[in-house]
């Protein structure tokens, strides 16, 4: 598998800088490690920043264990790249401005609103959508609890909730129901399945997010 960013795992910020520099992974890693931290050290002047766009650029994304490349304009959000260009549709577009949580994906295990970051920023990160929470037809404990306790009606918000809840349990398997609820505070359900979600959370907290 080819990873254009190499081993650098400094998160989405550095990823973009590195992308803008358009240089090799190792050089970028060095520059990132030194430049912002040691402004007084004399260094060779940085090459002028390279702009991208407005035309399409090739973006490589690691999604649900698969490496995918696609030409998209730099203005395309991670959400739109996943949905419109890579046909990964578990993340939903609802508010499209970082309020409702329906577009939540895991970026290196942390929940992020994929509508509020650009696809080119997410290169090199491990991206997981709700579709990753099923293996060989067996559901992960979180989506399984949503089914068992009927914590979904229309289901359009559900993949976002499921991903956010998975992240909350991964962060703290011993989390209390209140702490899990806090982890879901960035998500909105319109059908009103919160009571059933609480039933699911109560059961999941007993098993530390592992399910029955």
């Amino acid at each position: 598998m080819h990873d254009p960013r190499g081993p650098n795992k400094n998160g989405p910020g550095p990823s973009r800088r590195e992308f803008l520099r358009g240089s090799g992974a190792a050089a970028a890693a060095t520059a990132l490690a030194t430049a912002p931290l040691a402004p007084l050290v004399e260094a060779a002047p940085a090459p002028p920043p390279q702009g991208f766009g407005p035309g399409p650029v090739t973006v490589g994304l690691k999604v649900n264990g698969q490496y995918m490349t696609q030409k998209v304009e730099p203005r395309v959000t991670l959400l739109d790249a996943l949905r419109n260009y890579l046909d990964v549709t578990g993340c939903k577009r609802v508010c499209d401005r970082g309020t409702c949580g329906a577009c939540t994906v895991l970026l290196d295990g942390k929940p992020v609103y994929s509508c509020s970051m650009l696809a080119i920023e997410a290169q090199g990160n491990v991206i997981q959508t709700a579709e990753s929470l099923v293996a060989d037809g067996k559901l992960d404990a979180i989506p399984a609890a949503f089914v068992k306790y009927d914590a979904q009606q229309c289901g359009f918000c559900t993949p976002g909730f499921v991903v956010a809840m998975r992240a909350a349990f991964d962060k703290n398997p011993k989390a209390s129901p209140a702490e899990i609820e806090e982890g879901l505070s960035g998500n909105i359900c319109r059908c009103g399945t919160y009571q059933q979600m609480r039933d699911a959370i109560a059961a999941l907290c007993k098993s530390q997010g592992k399910g029955d």
């Binding site: 578990g90 579709e131 979904q152 319109r190």
Partner: protein, 729 residues
């Protein structure tokens, strides 16, 4: 023969996890918004930015040269009157969404701005001849109120009279999957749409009419849909535009509304306000109710209320004014008219109870509608025939679950001494929820024992798939997971739209008839091959039994005898298996912070009848969801219109508030299973009385009426400041 619901129920009324749950919760379910067709284009709509304007000219010459531009469809012609900010001008399609947005920005439109009203009170204050919406009068009211009994005498002879203003602002459906579709024409001139709709059948028919093609050439697919709440019927403006663009571009086209469009152009629950005067006797009998109400359907036709709601009051006077505004047309939203009517009746009722120094629960029990002996003659389990007994039982049950006797206190005299005050309140509701024709269901049994149930109906989140599987499995002695369910495709026959809580009571009788017909046909086919009489054959869990000879075959074994044959049972909706009319009671508890004005709902008890329960799990979830919709309505939601620009200032999800999980109270749902009544719909009733119950709980907490929902901190503080409860809408 007429089939009936089984007396002994094995699956019906139990808790069955929804069959499509795994697909949905793991993001694999494909909604209309998720459909990506090969070569698909993306479309967007250009909308009028003004509340009222004449479309003078449109210049698309630059747009048509932007990269990726593919097709254009004019919706409004030059010279057309555009009646609200968000009214459609044209639609374009391009190869990517980004290019579609570019093309839209490159279009130059000239408008002539016209006078407008976006606030009810402004239109009411204006000249009576004002016509700012499509040339029709803004304000319409009957000259005289409609009167029953002797209202003046009743007010004169009353022991207490209360006057006040009550009401609710407009809210948006906020369907998470916005309105929209993917449209694709085939080489034979057939049209397929993947549409987020509450009516696959109706949408296909609407498109056939619009494009003058045979109904058999149009297919509407809705395998999954992300919420409708009453706002998604028929092809709609974007449906026609999308299919036009697909035809012009000769390519599949996707057109889904963005969030701002969803809120400002796809319907809303109308506002409703009323000046109410209510009177009663010392014993709690309500003797008179008069109301001057007004409501706005936006640019739509009308927005009515049903008042007084539920209770029987002998002397009434009602006059309702319809106020058209330059705002998108109202659409049905979960129990249209009822939450408003409940607020306009149940809140004044509590204010009267307070003036009479009575427990409002006892006042309710005193004024319940009588059960109708006349109705009992034709349908002894109809709502009208049983309502007095039903409500009495429900109030008693809810009061017990909410510990009403222990927790209720006279308004403003709760036990908490700090700035945070406790309150408890109650309200009642009713709804129809009758199913009807046409609803066709097909059940097929194959020789390997597999069973298919098929209907063109759609699942809005009510677990309709699972409903069909439960009924089929109940009749054939199988488990719901054994049944293959195919729905959400208009080519599967006729079905009614999912409005008015009619889907479950519409498809359930048809499914019972289809499964029973398939079973009888199976017996007929097998009798000779099993050396049995068909009258002796019966179903037990997992097997076919010959009662006469005490022999049995496993289901698969029996079906294997079909050989080359396949069994089909077609069922239609027939009367007698469903019913009309439910009652419900909700009790809410709140904590009101009198320093900040913040209301927190801490507990809701919902007691609900829905006749024969098909799936208890989904039913309870539906009721809890309805309660949550009421909490949002009561505390958070509001479409805020700006009278200067004529636009909505919060067409989004950050300034348009919806509660999250941490905002929600403990919700106790108590279903009344009444199988003798047949199936009755449940989608709407639980959304009705919660807001009024919360309103009454706030009144109970602080001893002053907050007149208009949502009970936001500013309104609570304003009410506390006046201590008179005078409304400011």
């Amino acid at each position: 023969m007429a089939y009936t619901w089984p007396i002994k129920r094995r699956l019906l009324g139990t808790k069955v996890a929804r069959l499509d749950g795994p697909e949905k919760s793991s993001g694999r379910a494909k909604y209309s918004f998720d459909i990506n067709r090969p070569g698909m284009l993306h479309a967007m709509i250009l909308r009028c930015p003004y509340a009222h304007a004449k479309l003078k000219s449109v210049d698309t010459s630059v747009a048509e040269r932007t990269p990726g531009f593919e097709a254009l469809h004019r919706i409004a012609k030059d010279g057309a009157e555009l009646n609200y900010a968000g009214d459609e001008v044209l639609a374009i399609a391009a190869d990517t969404e980004e290019h579609a947005a570019d093309a839209l920005r490159a279009i130059k439109v000239e408008y002539e701005q016209l006078p407008f009203f976006v606030k009810e009170e402004d239109a009411l204050r204006a000249e009576a001849t004002a016509k700012t919406v499509g040339g029709r009068a803004n304000v319409n009211a009957p000259a005289e109120p409609s009167v029953t009994g002797d209202i003046d005498k009743a007010f004169k002879e009353a022991d207490a009279v209360v006057e006040g203003v009550y009401g609710s602002h407009a809210i948006s459906h906020q369907c998470l999957e916005s309105h929209g579709l993917v449209a694709e024409w085939d080489k034979e001139g057939g049209l397929t749409v993947w549409c987020s709709t509450q009516a696959t059948d109706g949408t296909a028919q609407g498109l056939a009419r619009a494009f003058k093609i045979p109904q058999t050439k149009v297919k509407c697919i809705t395998h999954y849909m992300g919420g409708g709440f009453g706002s998604k019927f028929g092809p709609d403006v974007q449906g026609i535009a999308c299919a036009e663009l697909a035809k012009k571009a000769q390519a599949p086209v996707k057109l889904m509304l963005n969030r701002a469009e969803e809120i400002t152009a796809a319907g809303h629950r109308p506002s409703s306000y009323g000046k109410v005067k209510i009177a009663g006797k010392k014993d709690g009998t309500v003797t008179a109710f008069s109301i001057e109400s007004f409501a706005s359907p936006g640019a739509g036709g009308g927005a009515g209320v049903v008042v007084p709601y539920v209770y029987t009051i002998p002397n009434t006077s009602t006059r309702h004014t319809n106020v058209r505004l330059n705002y998108n047309a109202q659409r049905a939203m979960r129990a249209p008219g009822h939450p408003q009517s409940c607020l306009l009746t149940d809140c004044p009722l509590d204010d009267l109870a307070a003036k009479l120094n009575l427990d409002p629960m006892k006042v309710r029990l005193k004024n319940l509608p009588a059960s109708s002996e006349e109705s009992a003659k034709t349908n002894k389990t109809s709502y009208a025939a049983i309502r007095h007994t039903l409500y009495t039982e429900q109030i008693q049950l809810a009061a017990r679950l909410a510990e009403w006797e222990k927790k209720w206190h006279p308004p403003g005299q709760g036990p908490l001494t700090g700035p945070v005050k406790h309150g408890i309140g109650m309200a009642l509701h009713t709804w129809g929820g009758a199913g009807g024709a046409p609803n066709d269901v097909l059940v097929q049994i194959a020789s390997d024992g597999s069973v298919l149930v098929q209907s063109s109906t759609q699942d809005l989140g009510t677990a309709c798939r699972t409903v069909l599987a439960i009924i089929t499995a109940e009749i054939l002695g199988l488990e719901p997971k054994d049944i293959t369910v195919r729905i959400g495709d208009s080519s599967f026959g006729r079905s009614t739209g999912s409005g008015g809580s009619t889907t479950t009571p519409g498809v359930s009788p048809a499914a019972l008839n289809a499964a029973s017909a398939a079973r009888d046909s199976l017996f007929e086919k097998l009798a000779e091959r099993l050396k049995a009489k068909k009258e002796d054959l019966t179903i037990e869990p997992g097997k076919v039994v010959d009662k006469a000879n005490n022999k049995s075959w496993s289901w698969r074994e029996a079906c294997a005898r079909l050989g080359m044959d396949t069994i089909s049972g077609l069922g239609k909706w027939t009367s007698g298996l469903s019913n009309n009319g439910v009652g419900g009671v909700q009790i809410a508890e709140v904590l009101v912070d009198t320093d900040t004005g913040v209301v927190r709902c801490t507990k809701v008890v919902a007691v609900q009848d829905c006749g024969l329960i098909v799936n208890r799990l989904a039913c309870e979830s539906q009721v809890a969801g309805g309660v949550i919709a009421s909490i949002n309505y009561a505390l958070f939601e509001e479409n805020i219109l700006d009278r200067v620009t004529g636009r909505q200032v919060n067409p989004d999800m950050e300034f348009y508030k919806l509660g999250g999980i941490e905002d929600m109270p403990q919700i106790v749902v108590q279903m009344m299973d009444m199988p003798e009544r047949g199936v009755i719909g449940i989608g709407e009733p639980p959304c009705i009385s919660g807001a009024a119950a919360i309103g009454n709980a706030v009144f109970n907490a602080i001893g002053v009426r907050v007149p208009v929902v949502p009970f936001t901190p500013d309104r609570v503080l304003a009410a506390l400041a006046t201590k008179e409860g005078k409304a400011s809408t």
